[in-house]
Amino acid sequence: MTIPVHKYDVVIVGAGGAGLRAALQVSEAGLKTAVLSKVFPTRSHTVAAQGGVAASLGNVTEDNWHWHMYDTVKGSDWLGDQDAIEFMVKKANEVVVELEHFGMPFDRLDSGKIYQRPFGGHSQNYGEKPVNRSCAAADRTGHAMLHAMYQRNVKANTQFFVEWMALDLIRDEDGDVLGVTAMEMETGEVHIFHAKATIFATGGAGRIYYSSTNAFINTGDGVGMAARAGIPLEDMEFWQFHPTGVAGAGVLITEGVRGEGGILRNASGERFMERYAPNLKDLASRDVVSRSMVTEINEGRGCGPDKDHVLLDITHLSPETIMKRLPGIREISIQFAGVDPIKAPIPVVPTCHYQMGGIPTNYKGQVIVPKGDEKSVPVGGFYAAGECACASVHGANRLGTNSLLDLLVFGKSSGESVVEDLKGNPRAHKPLPANAADVSLARIARLDNQKNGESVHEVRLAMQRTMQKHAGVFRFNDLLKAGVEEIKKVAERAKTTEIKDKSKVWNTARTEALELDNLIEVAKATMISAEARKESRGAHVRDDALDTAETPAGRDDKNWLKHTLWYSEGNRLDYKPVNLQPMSADVESIALAKRTY
């Protein structure tokens, strides 16, 4: 069987914020560029981002990159690499102004400058008081960003392959990456995209959890592909949970609801946050509120027939206040929780929101792996940016508005690295290995021939329930240990999924089965990395990590100030040091301290 081969200088997988920004950089440099996407670019999950993008422009309140860097390092609970963080915050103003020139309709001040609003975790003068750092386009920042960058890519002659699903990474004997295999959904045919450089910008894998704010598209395709190709995954135990997702549906109820006076209640109607955070109560930080909610549920004070959620109550607010201050919340609640919040409280649970870990990269967007005695050796021809990558700027916990900044800065820097490499060292494509498409063809043949297997839906649900129960927002040693065994069993089941529809043209069942292969890699990485990390840090919180003088809030810098690396083969774990040294002499390392707000 001959497989069609498409030759490009650069192939980019994913057309959300990071993919479009990377594509622009390489296309405008004159490199022949293909971008593959499962969906039309402006329907990528970046569209959901509402908060804005962080940059220390100082247009509203005094600000500078030093303060932004401090906030980001502290937010990361010191797991972020300080060279990458310095690089990101220093580049922030540049990428935001560029975006403005691309036609992004940022909100403006009367002076014409970009308006900026405050956001959690961002501060002036090293934690002293809140700062206005977020640049937004009303509540459609992600949407406007995608549109501005897509239009510009079309002008730059970027070639889009829309409704194509990348399947597997192609590596040669040297370990260099030579492109990907991909399936055209319209025909079901597998093609090869042969490239001198491959950039992954495939987003996160939040769908590994039962309760997730992520769109269905977030199946961690790039992360799974990298893992299957022998690339380790970094810090996959760190997932950010949002306290108030609608129970069952996952749909996000914004923090603004509690800001306007919303109260969390348990089964007996008690305002339980008064016990956990007597001062800030329902407005304590995301992780504190989430853990308190889970404790209530675990101790039997959850609501509903299964006692599996708590209630977000705004019935004490006047209907006028709700309509005026919280537009859209009533409609979202009626539609997705089946509850009119004017009359009854909204059922909510902490819900998976963002993947901090991913494919390990440096600040240039190069994918880096251990080799011999070296811990960070670039993989030839392979780059990653955005939520699928781990640069690592978010460390153990991401600050709001730093995700859009991440995808702009590292989308651009990965593109710049590719241009530098291919222009500085012009060369022909390396020859494809003879078996370049074998792995993908075997995966599809397995699906076509499988008999007596389980449905993809059943196995996916088993994975999601296992992750939710064993590696949720609050983690327990015995649950994690059992979770490792459980998820391995689910992974075995995923190897024999069966689809009834074997047709080739527009077979969405087959696509979902292929997505599950990617999700499973991420789920295993998360559970195994989480079980191994015997401390609390940022979003990874264990109930057995004690708060002592040496381990404040359970964080154990002596033993665990290091990045996890998980290898799919044999579920092997390795570790590498956190880079506490900034990139330049402009700033000193931000010293370890207890993270308090």
């Binding site: 329907r43 990528s44 569209v47 959904m185 769109a215 549906a249 996000l252 043209v505 527009w506």
Partner: protein
């Protein structure tokens, strides 16, 4: 609508940028789509082409549509 055309439409409905649309449209396809009249199918196809935030705004907002087939489909979407 033949199988391939339906499956293509299905993919474009169950993989949106917003979770809210994934949930609503999945339910709609599973529970309502088979019962639509021909003109309603055409109306739904047109609505499905909307930008994500516009489509969601329409489903959860109070705005009514003047086209009777689109209005009928919208009423069904709102029940999902």
């Amino acid at each position: 609508m033949d199988r391939a055309e339906y499956e293509r439409l299905r993919w474009r409905c169950i993989r949106r940028g917003l979770l809210e649309l994934d949930l609503t449209l999945t339910k709609f396809l599973d529970q309502e789509f088979d019962k639509l009249t021909e003109p309603e199918v055409e109306a739904f196809k047109k609505l499905a082409e909307l930008e994500d935030w516009d489509f969601l705004g329409l489903i959860v907002g109070g705005k009514e549509l003047s086209d009777p087939h689109e209005a009928a489909v919208l009423a069904k979407l709102r029940k999902c």
